[in-house]
Amino acid sequence: MSAAAPRPGETLLSVDGISLAFGGVKALTDVSFDVRKGEIRAIIGPNGAGKSSMLNCINGFYQPQQGRITYRGVERRQMRPHEAAEQGIARTFQNIALFRGMSTLDNIMTGRLLRMKVPFFWQVWRHGPAMREEIEHRRFVEGIIEFLEIEHIRKTPVGRLPYGLQKRVELGRALAMEPELLLLDEPMAGMNLEEKEDMCRFILDVVRQYGTTIALIEHDMGVVMDLSDRVVVLDYGRKIADGTPAEVKADRRVIDAYLGVGH
């Protein structure tokens, strides 16, 4: 599939001249940036700037009309979402996309589906290899549950959980995939301060503990500035700035985009 996995600091993903349009509406125009192994990369911008569309392009849900995406040194144009998952790209969603009819545990277990290989024949009996495999992955998932401090809601159907916890379960489900690149779409939207602090802690721990690379969309500027190593700013589907948080904060065009021109 690809050459050796990039080492920390090398480019893991690069997006080159991406344009995406729905009919006549241009969601993204000629956007380029890169994500390095082991960093936290933030994508910010006003509402409707095309941030979520960008993530959707990266994990294959949308097919951009123009441009290249290079992941682990391999360039690709067309990719189905499940292929992205197979290559180690996981994500969470702005409007939580959990499997509402299933328990927390089962939701996170779905993250292990790609790694469960025992054939259907054994599944039917639920003994022998199938059971051993289940237990092995259950053990891994319990590790994530412990890490995210959600032991008490292990068997609760996720539809009944409060918003903040649902976000946490969704993060858990993505982590269960042991992704190389984790895309977080507004992981802290709608949370109170305490929940936000928890979530920040989890994100930093993920990077430290699992060595995961993270690209995240966030509106809370405080969070973005503290958390991320580098920031890319989109406005009306175009990239208007790219750099360290400090650089971006000082950028004229970013201030214009957020506060309006002629402030």
């Binding site: 729905f22 959707n56 849900f61 969603f93 409007n95 996309a97």
Partner: protein, 316 residues
Amino acid sequence: MLYNVFVDPFVQMADMPDLLVQVLWEGTVAGVLYALIALGFVLIFKASGVFNFAQGIMVVFAALTLVGLHENGVPALLALVLTVGVMYALAWSIERVVLRPLVNQPDIILFMATFGITYLIIGLGEFIFGGRPKAMITSELFLPRGAIDVQMLGGRVTFQKLDIAAAVIAGLMVAALAVFFQRTRIGRALRAVADSHKAALSVGISLNQIWVVVWFTAGLVALVTGIMWGARSDVSFGLQIIALKALPVLILGGFTSVPGAIVGGLIIGVGEKVGEFYWGPLVGSGIESWLAYLIALAFLLFRPQGLFGDKIIERI
């Protein structure tokens, strides 16, 4: 074999054009009736997002009520008026008992609820009027009888006067509905509700009232369809299988498009009659029972949004 499938039917068509015209006309009439049922579906789907499986049964129920009342000595026109009242009562009770408690439930739940309505109506109809097939009253409702024979293309083509009347009445009704949707205040409210229940509520549209209106309108459409259809065959719940044919029509036309329902109905009606007449004998005939579904299925694979539907963009 190849000759029989790809050449012979067309040779037959060219040989006897009068027969072809006759088959096309039969198909058109069937298509108009399918379109009428589909129209009832579309009305309700547009306004409430409910895929009303019971529309076919409402057709039978309306016809059965009309005939049943007449059999019990009610004069035809009075029976007609009373049936309209019954359809209103039906719309009102469905809104009150089924729809109101299910607001904001997933579409599929509402869809399944209409299965329940279907069975309730079948049971009620049979319970009150009995399960035997009945004959539709036609002359009492001033519907023409008999046929017109036209000499054309070296042969004779027969048009039933009733079928002509059906086509004309269907056309008038569609025109009336179009005006109703485009020009009246309620029509505008209906279109708002179709977009979003919550948003419509927030601007002060009464959902309950709208739903009653729309189900009542669908009930009226059902009544007209039931009269026309009953006059062609019998009035019995056996018609519900034929009513299912409206589903492929909807797939062809799209769930929200009135012109789509009409065009789809005609395509299905003509398609299955022509298919049955010219290709049916090759495989032992009777293919009318599934040809419509197969046409729809083939169509779905290439254009899932229907003839007139908008392209679906999935979001997440």
